[in-house]
Amino acid sequence: MAIKICPDAFDPWQEIQSYQRASVQAGKFGATSVFIGTMRDFNEGDQVKGMFLEHYPGMTEKQLEKIASKAKAQWPLLEYLLVHRVGAILPNEPIVLVAVWTSHRGDAFDASRYIMEALKSTAPFWKKELLHSDQERWVTKNTDGYAVDQEG
């Protein structure tokens, strides 16, 4: 079970492989569900050349731990790995990684999606985009929302 806040670029596939080798018991998991959020070079019709991801140090970790605890209470997770980038980000760089290992696939799909949706609605991160025009703007809402209890 690991939660990481990364100030530098990370390779999600490398993170998963290292974590799996070190921490996930061979032969016991049947399902691995992974979600990776990656920075696009466009948003809301504009070209984006960079992003700054602000967070609330301390509260971020606390909220992510809460989300993970809730997921563990709801599904039989063998392991999970949660990585979130902060700071200056370029297009095509990963922003978030969620990976869960379970015995059965339904649990893996459900838990990874729950973690992502809860993270999107309760983890204190904020994106500021740097547009192609050099204008900066705060992202004011997440797309594709799914209702998750704010009380996290």
């Binding site: 606390k62 983890a123 991160f125 994106k127 997440n142």
Partner: protein, 79 residues
């Protein structure tokens, strides 16, 4: 009894009010909502502002204790 309360602001809200942090003196029994008004000269809190005390989400009528860290910020947009 007088309490010392740290107030923090993040993201677009921080840009908007031009400060990232206040240290307030306040009396016991003050709510999160009242902390906002005390710190911001009764300016209205922007719509959708979220509040946390000691890094947990709270409602605005939550009472604040000595040493609490209160935070205000816009809807989160991570992930």
């Amino acid at each position: 009894m007088n309490m010392s309360i740290k107030v923090r602001y993040f993201a677009s809200l921080k840009d908007r009010i031009g400060r990232s942090e206040d240290i307030l003196e306040a009396s016991e029994g003050i709510s999160v909502q009242a902390i906002w008004h005390r710190a911001n000269a009764d300016k209205a809190m922007p719509d959708n502002t979220l509040a946390a005390v000691n890094m947990d989400y709270v409602d605005l009528d939550r009472l604040v204790k000595d040493g609490d860290e209160v935070a205000f910020f816009p809807p989160v947009t991570g992930g």
